[in-house]
Symmetry: C2
Subunit: 196 residues, 2 copies
DNA sequence: TGCACTATGGCATACTATGCGCCATAATTA
DNA sequence: TAATTATGGCGCATAGTATGCCATAGTGCA
């Protein structure tokens, strides 16, 4: 579990920090391994002793944050969707995701604006998670795969916009907007399915 | 306007066809210029006499289709949004986009699954168009920029899913789903703004 | 503290892909 | 038919990735 050798720890940490710093300055795709090692003040050769790829380094960087995100999505507030009495104004839950992203905004900036190869596994996971949580419970006339895809990618779009606009709006406000634009229509599909 | 030399026409046509064929087989980013020229049976050197880039070739391929798409978005059915009496079932307009994509599915498969650098200009144009058509007319409490972003990218997501699933559902059905998941909640925001 | 271990740095090298200069050749236009 | 021009194929330069080799310096453990 532990990194035994201090040098390895130091090297990996430097490389990870360098990648984040560079990714905030320029397109992820434009960054060369040479630049990363220069920034980290690490030998070019050494990079390949720890990572096979630029992508592998990025994945490692994002790994812990992705794990947090998983837990964030884990507890499924089913009532959120199927209780018709809940009003958008009462739902602060929608802001949780925005709080989390705000706390790790540097990393999410990198994640959400990187190549499709990077974000796609996360997206696929989120979709699968959403389907596992709600798909079997409710029969909707709209294919659940469509709903899951729409939900996840619309949330990502909203997060991207928010980060692009320097998170000027509060997480609560964004949570409310996400409810009205994304969750509410899905909820209505659920309610419609239940009423049959 | 006309291509004077027959050879140029032949060369460009071959290269364009080769790119589409390859893009349907593998990731756009993985395709090399060498592969394109091999497939087109055109000298490698000749490629650069017509295009500076792989992207430039792709843009030229997609150009005419993008122009059609522009016109498709041009006539703004404002009633679509602000007439509260219109029901989702009556709105076949939403299917127009899906019809268009179905007719050019090969090209849209390439477009919608290519790099962000390719699709982003189109996306930006669609967002701007949408804002120009409706943004000044209606004051909404949700920033119009969010709405425009959400609308466009959610439609793209829906199209992607549809193409991924070999367009098994009819354009009409997809149009209805897009209305319920995307247009309807936006419409409600509009109606809410009007009632004040 | 000192020894065995191993991560690192720096060098050379191979490979892949892009991009262009040059010139003979073939196709096209007028 | 003659002048023009696109093409093909050659070589070459460049950039980035990826690996081998070996001396050196840092590390963990006895």
């Amino acid at each position: 579990m532990e990194q035994i050798d201090r040098r390895v720890r130091r090297t990996k940490k430097s490389l990870e920090e360098a990648l984040i710093a560079l990714a905030l300055e320029k397109e992820y795709g434009e960054i060369t391994i040479q630049e990363i090692t220069d920034r980290a003040d690490i030998g070019y050769r050494t990079f390949f002793r720890h990572y096979s790829d630029k992508d592998e380094l990025l994945k490692e960087v994002l790994n812990s944050t992705m794990l947090e995100l998983r837990e964030l999505m884990a507890p499924p507030p089913l009532e959120y969707f199927i209780d018709p009495n809940i009003d958008a104004a009462d739902l602060t839950d929608g802001a949780i995701l925005f709080w989390h992203v705000q706390e790790n905004s540097d990393l999410y900036r990198v994640l959400l604006f990187s190549d499709r190869t990077i974000i796609q596994p996360l997206e696929a996971f989120a979709i699968q998670e959403f389907k596992a949580n709600y798909g079997s419970l409710l029969e909707t006339d709209i294919p659940f795969d469509i709903i899951a895809n729409h939900m996840v990618s619309a949330m990502i779009t909203l997060l991207r916009w928010w980060l692009d606009n320097d998170m000027a709006l509060s997480p609560e406000v964004m949570g409310e907007y996400s409810f009205r634009l994304i969750a509410q229509p899905i909820r209505e599909t659920f309610l419609q399915a239940l009423s049959k």
